[in-house]
C-alpha cells in the first residue's frame, strides 16, 4: 500500500496514562493533511512517531507498507524553531542530509543551489543562520528536509513563532512546495500540525481533529476547495463555512476535555 498508515497506535510516557490511544490514520501518497488539536493533545508525539523518534507503545506506523522503526531521510521533519546548524552556512545546512546520504560534492552543490533558488534564498547561500529572519530560517529548515527527497514531510507548528505577514508568505510557500518543489518530481506527502484552524483549512486537503487526554482522532474533514488556493479564498463563503465547522469541532473537543477535567476526582 502506498502512503502513510497508523494502525491502532498508542503512546504512554507514563505507564497506564496514554497520551495517544487507538489512533488509526491513513494518508495517501501525495496528500496534505493538517492535524489540529489542543495544546498537549499529543500532536507532536504523533509526528514524532511518524518520524521514528518516538517509539509507539502499541500499534504500528507504516510507510508504503513498511513498518517505521527509526528516523530516516524518507521522512523530513521541521520544528517550530528552525533548529539549523548555526555554524554552517545556509547552503551547508541544506547539504547536511545529502552529505549523510553520500551524494558526491558536485551533485550536492547542484541540488542545494536548485533548492535554494526554489525557496527564494539563493542570495543567502553563504550566510550563517544567525543573520536570517525567522521566516527565512524556516525556509532553510524546509529546504534542508526536502533536499533528501522525503516521501513524507512532517511539519510541527512550523509557523507558530512567525508574525502574521511572514506566516501568510510561508503558507503560500508551503502550498507551492507541496505542488512543485520536489527534487525527484514526486509530490511529497505532507502532515502538518497546527493549532490555527484557518491555516489548516487553507493548506490541507484533509483536516484531522485530535481530542485530548487521551489523544484520539475524533473527526476528519475533507477540505473541498480547489487545488490552487489564492489568499483571497479565505474570505469565500465556502472557506468560512468549512473553517467554522473545524473550529466548532475543536471547540467541542476542548469543552469536553475541560468538563472531564472538572468532573475528575483529584
Amino acid at each position: 500500500m502506498s502512503g502513510l498508515r497508523l494502525e491502532g497506535v498508542r503512546k504512554e510516557f507514563v505507564p497506564g496514562r496514554p497520551v495517544l490511544q487507538d489512533v488509526d490514520l491513513s494518508v495517501a501518497s501525495g496528500d496534505f493533511v493538517c492535524v489540529v488539536g489542543a495544546s498537549g493533545s499529543g500532536k507532536s508525539t504523533l509526528l514524532g512517531m511518524v518520524a521514528g523518534l518516538v517509539p509507539p507503545t502499541a500499534g504500528r506506523v507504516l510507510l508504503d507498507g513498511r513498518e517505521v522503526s527509526g528516523p530516516g531521510p524518507d521522512r523530513g521533519l521541521v520544528f517550530q524553531t528552525a533548529s539549523l546548524y548555526p555554524w554552517r552556512t545556509v547552503a551547508q545546512n541544506v547539504a547536511f542530509g545529502l552529505e549523510a546520504l553520500g551524494l558526491p560534492r558536485a551533485a550536492r552543490r547542484e541540488r542545494v543551489r536548485w533548492l535554494l533558488d526554489e525557496v527564494g534564498l539563493g542570495h543567502l547561500a553563504g550566510a550563517l543562520p544567525g543573520r536570517l529572519s525567522g521566516g527565512q530560517q524556516q525556509r532553510v529548515a524546509i529546504a534542508r528536509a526536502l533536499a533528501c527527497a522525503p516521501r513524507v514531510l512532517l511539519l510541527d507548528e512550523p509557523f507558530g513563532a512567525l508574525d502574521v505577514q511572514t506566516k501568510e508568505d510561508m503558507q503560500l510557500f508551503v502550498r507551492q512546495v507541496w505542488q512543485d518543489v520536489t527534487p525527484t518530481g514526486e509530490r511529497p506527502t505532507v502532515v502538518m500540525v497546527t493549532h490555527d484552524t484557518e491555516e489548516a483549512v487553507f493548506l490541507a486537503r484533509r483536516v484531522v481533529v485530535l481530542s485530548s487526554d487521551p489523544g484520539r482522532i475524533s473527526q476528519e474533514i475533507v477540505i473541498d476547495l480547489p487545488g490552487p488556493r489564492p489568499l483571497e479564498i479565505r474570505r469565500s463563503a465556502e472557506f468560512l463555512r468549512i473553517r467554522a465547522e473545524v473550529e466548532d469541532l475543536v471547540r467541542a473537543e476542548h469543552r469536553a476535555h475541560q468538563a472531564r477535567l472538572a468532573a475528575a476526582p483529584t
Binding site: L53, G76, L77, F79, S83, P86, W87, G97, A141
Partner: protein, 285 residues
Amino acid sequence: MTAAEAMPRQDIERAPAAEGPAPRRTRTTRPLTRSVSARTAWLLRCLSILVPLAAWQAVSASGRVDPAFLPSPSAVWAAGLDMAAGGELAADLAASLGRIAAGFGLAVLISVPLGFAMGTLGWAQPLLEPAVGILRYLPASAFIPLLIIWLGIGEASKVALLVLGVVFFNTLMTADAVRQVPRRLLEVSATLGASRPRVAARVVFPYALPGIIDAMRVNAAAAWNFVVVAELVAATSGLGYRITRAQRFLQTDRIFAILVVIGLIGLAIDVALRLLRARVGRWAR
C-alpha cells in the same frame, strides 16, 4: 432594598476612584546593564594595572619597608633584565612551558574524549561521573609526595601532577559543554539520515567546541599554577625552581621578577585561548 444589600455595591462603586494620594512623580528605573563605553573600559583596564603599580612604587619609595622584603619596581625590572641577559630566564621559561605543553596537552587528550563520551553516551555518564566527581576533589598538590615516590623527581612526576590537576575538571566541564547541544538538533540530524557517529562528529562536536575551548581556558590557568608548584617542590629548572633558588639567596627582586613573568605568560595563554574561542565560535555571536 435593605441597607445590607446596598452596602457592598457602594463599596464597589467607590473602589475604582482611588482616594489615596496620587504618586507624586513617575519613578524611572534603569535596567541593570553591565556595559560601559569602550573608552571607559580601556581607561578602567589601565587603572587596574597602574593603581597597584603606583601603590607599590609609593610604598617602596617611602622607605618604611625593608627593600629585602619589598624591592622597588625598578629593582625588580633590573633583576628581570639581569636574568634575561644571563640566559637563565629563557631556559627556565622554556622548561616550564615544555612541561605545561606536555602535561596540559596530555590532560586535554584524555579529558576531551572522556568528557565527550560522558556528554553523548547514555551509559558513560553514570559510569564515569561518580568516580570523576570524587577524584576532582582530591587536591592535586597533595599527590606530589606520592608522585615523587612513584615516578621520581624527573619530568614524569611533574607532567603527572599537571594531568591530575586538570584532567578531572576538564572532563566534567567538557561533558557539560557537550550536553548543551539542543535535543531538537540531534533529532533533526537523525531524520536527515545521519548515523550516530556522524551526528557526534558533525553536530555535537562543532556545537560544543566553543564551550570545550572555554573549559580548556579555565583549566589552563590551573595547569600553569601546577607547573610552578611542581617546580617549587623538586626541580632543577623552570620558573618555580628559579624562585626557590632566589629564596636561598634572599633575592626578593628576582622572585618578584619571576612572578611578573609567570603572570604575563598566564595572561598570554588566556588571551591566546580567548582568540581561538572567538574564531571557532564566531557563529555563536
